[in-house]
């Protein structure tokens, strides 16, 4: 394991005490620290390589100009021990990539619409001050831990220019050892960014929004994964509409509107893509359910004669659902799901219902214990 830059307990500029290592990206290490002047927890970011410091500083200045509830707040910037440090608001939550790896294969249109709506607000406020992100991808989006992901914040502005350079180097040298950061970024990169065109700008973020929405709803990135995606992106050919977008039953209407957003954002000509402000208008008119969600396990489906079944909720009650409210292939028994719950009699009614990945064993034991209060 590579030596980390800071150790727990270290105090920087007499104000920030390092609490623990949190994560590392391709360019930086992230720690949880305590701001001793206010006794509040903050995120401390340090570039890994001194060569990246100029960009790091510029990225900090760019994001410091943006003050918005959907953008991680820049709090401080300083040098210590010959390294630059950035202090950001510490977000209680996890990044969207982790959630896609561990919790959701894909999102239903309601949840996807909610996330895209908040994302586009963050992007619009940046674009208004002429700051663009350059590296929008699920790992740069922080979301709250609830199943409804009720709040989200975008982080890591402009760091991406570094990533763009790295990918160009990789493509040139045909290297197969591209970093995880680069591999994660490619599927969301606009063709003009991949080509490293000088004029790449705000519309590149819009492309990323389209690619992200496609990924969220279908479970797949539109142009494939990793370096292989580079070629497909450069061909600029919109992939065929995935089955998930040919919404059935209760999802018609909303899925069509979301697909229109995807296709508009993924236009080859950057000038033909909608602006962030235009997308805000579109998203403000979308009708979706932002109700908070619960989780449970499908316990019976088609035991009767209709297309319906029950979910045994983690809270212990049984909730009815109709297959028209289920986003994804046919519901299966034992499948873990999350759902919004509406009043009904004798059982409440779930809509929409979204399948989840199976829980890890330790989590499953917890859930089983919660679900059955008479258990061990």
């Amino acid at each position: 394991m590579i030596q980390q830059i800071h150790k727990a307990g270290e105090i920087l500029i007499g104000r920030y005490q390092v609490k623990r290592f949190l994560a590392e990206g391709g360019m930086q290490e992230v720690y949880v620290a305590v701001d001793l002047s206010f006794n509040r927890e903050v995120a401390l970011k340090v570039p890994k390589h001194p060569s990246a410091e100029k960009r790091f500083a510029r990225s900090a200045r760019m994001s410091a100009k943006v003050i918005h509830a959907n953008v991680a707040q820049t709090l401080d910037y300083f040098s210590e021990g010959g390294r630059d440090h950035l202090i950001e608001e510490l977000i209680q939550g996890s990044n969207l990539q982790d959630r896609l790896d561990n919790e959701f294969d894909y999102l239903d249109p309601h949840l996807a619409a909610h996330l895209i709506h908040h994302l586009i607000r963050a992007i619009a406020v940046c674009h208004r001050v002429n700051v663009f992100h350059r590296d929008l991808k699920p790992s740069n989006i922080m979301v709250s831990m609830d199943h409804s992901m009720s709040f989200m914040k975008v982080t890591d502005f402009g760091i991406a220019k570094m990533a763009a350079q790295e990918i160009a180097n990789n493509v040139k040298s045909d290297s197969i050892s591209a970093s995880r950061t680069v591999l994660g970024a490619i599927p969301y990169m606009a063709p003009e960014v991949v080509r490293r065109e000088k004029g790449a700008g705000l519309p590149a973020d819009i492309w990323s929004v389209g690619a992200l929405l496609y990924r969220l709803m279908s479970g797949k990135t539109p142009f494939g994964e990793g370096l292989a995606a580079v070629e497909t992106i450069l061909k600029c050919q919109l992939p065929p509409k995935p089955l998930m977008f040919s919404g059935r039953g209760q999802f018609t209407g909303l899925v069509d509107e979301l697909w229109e957003i995807v296709t508009a954002c993924l236009r080859t000509d950057p000038g033909a893509r909608p602006t962030a402000d235009q997308l805000i208008k579109t998203c403000s008119a979308l009708c979706y359910s932002d109700a908070s969600r619960r989780a449970g396990i499908v316990t019976s489906y088609r035991r009767g004669s209709g297309d319906w079944g029950f979910i045994h909720a983690d809270a212990g009650d049984d909730v009815f659902f109709h297959s028209d409210s289920y986003y994804g292939p046919k519901p299966e028994e034992r499948k873990r799901v999350c759902f919004a719950c509406c009043t009904g009699s004798p059982s409440h009614r779930a809509h929409p219902v979204l399948p989840l990945k199976p829980l890890l064993i330790s989590q499953a034991a917890d859930a089983a214990w919660v679900a059955d209060p008479t258990g061990p």
């Binding site: 100009k65 039953g249 209760q250 403000s284 009614r349 779930a350």
Partner: protein
């Protein structure tokens, strides 16, 4: 009564990091110096007490702000303290404005704007009260808009941590915006309800283009005349809004609504006419979204008519055996957000018709 603006520099030496931008605002307890943070190349507000007497108020504000997380409250970045000279200041997010007071002066506020601003203010107060704090000086001058028109509530100088027995040694605040409870024999009792009163007075200030109804300016307020009803505010406000706004100004603090109740009522009305019901009937999907329009779902003699009121989908008429989520349907029932309408009595079993209906609406993101 706009804040006085001068160019007088701070009376102490600024750390090299900050550059004074020749703009100073005088608030109640503090001077606010507009500065540039050279490290991050952004404008910040440097707030220093007007005199040693008001230092306590600024320190109190700091304690409150650093424990509050809300998009409607300014972010504190730093504290500057020089033990030797005794100078003390806080560095916080610069909110360019205008204040709500300035905005009212230059705008003829219409209903939609009125509801949106009040909704944001109710969100701000809900966040503050949820954190166990009280602002104590809710006025149009202490409410400001940032570059994205997000409302921020400023000047927590008078604020305090809410305690059920909370008493203030002396009644302060802005006349017209404080409730009658502050005019009794001192010490005055205050609570979150005092902020709700300030909210109500602020609503009148907006509705009347910058003035207050005379009854709020009586000493004590409303001692001779009760506050007028918001039905006379000239914006043809929905009755539900009128009622909740009227209640915010009730002289008895315990009868005023809580901020979240005001917030939720305003939110419902911001979505007026913007809901959508998706009805899945006989293999086809229908969308009902025009206010005043109705959908009639027949199955033999069993029929139900659902009408969109602008706020909800309401049962307009029922004939025969019709159930909503297994409960017998009757006129004036409001459909839950997701339901199935069953046409036909239970003995018909599979011959019954099942119609799933789901409601959705745009998300209010301001």
């Amino acid at each position: 009564m706009a804040n006085k603006e001068t160019v007088s520099p701070p009376p102490f030496r600024l750390p090299d990091r900050f550059e004074f931008l020749n703009k100073t605002l005088a608030g109640g307890q503090a001077f606010v110096y507009l500065c540039r943070d050279k490290f991050l190349d952004r404008q910040v507000a440097l707030k220093a007490p007007k005199s040693p007497i008001t230092e306590g108020a600024v320190r109190k504000e700091l304690a409150i702000l650093s424990g509050l997380k809300s998009k409607h409250v300014t972010q504190v970045y730093d504290v500057l303290e020089d033990k030797k000279s005794g100078h003390f200041a806080i560095v916080e997010e610069f909110v360019p404005g205008p204040t709500l007071e300035e905005y009212v002066e230059r705008t003829n506020i219409q209903k939609e704007d009125f509801l949106r601003i009040l909704y944001q203010l109710a969100c701000a107060l809900s966040d503050i009260h949820a954190a166990g704090k009280v602002h104590r000086d809710v006025t149009p001058r202490n409410v400001k808009f940032d570059a994205e028109s997000v409302l921020k509530i400023l000047d927590f100088g008078l604020s305090s941590v809410a305690r059920p027995e909370g008493v203030t040694p002396q009644a302060r605040g802005t006349p017209g915006f404080v409730g009658p409870e502050f005019y009794g024999s001192l010490p005055a009792h205050f609570s979150a309800a005092a902020d709700v009163y300030g909210f109500g007075a602020t609503a009148w200030f907006m509705a009347l283009n910058g003035v207050l109804p005379p009854s709020l300016l009586e000493v004590p307020p409303q001692s001779l005349t009760a506050a007028p009803s918001f039905s006379t505010a000239g914006m043809s406000l929905p009755i539900e809004i009128v009622e909740v706004l009227n209640a915010t100004l009730l002289p008895n603090p315990s009868r005023r609504p809580h901020a979240p109740c005001v917030r939720d009522t305003l939110k419902r009305h911001l979505l007026f006419g913007r809901h959508r019901a998706t009805i899945h009937y006989e293999g086809k999907t229908y969308v009902l979204s025009d206010q005043g329009k109705a959908a009639r779902l027949p199955a033999g003699n069993d029929t139900i008519t659902v009408k969109y009121s602008g706020l909800a989908f309401v049962v307009a008429a029922v004939t025969g055996d019709v159930y909503i989520n297994n409960n017998p349907a009757k006129a004036d029932d409001i459909l839950p957000d997701a339901c199935v309408i069953t046409l036909g009595a239970p003995p018909l079993k599979q011959a019954r018709k099942f119609v799933p209906v789901n409601m959705s609406h745009p998300e209010v993101v301001l």
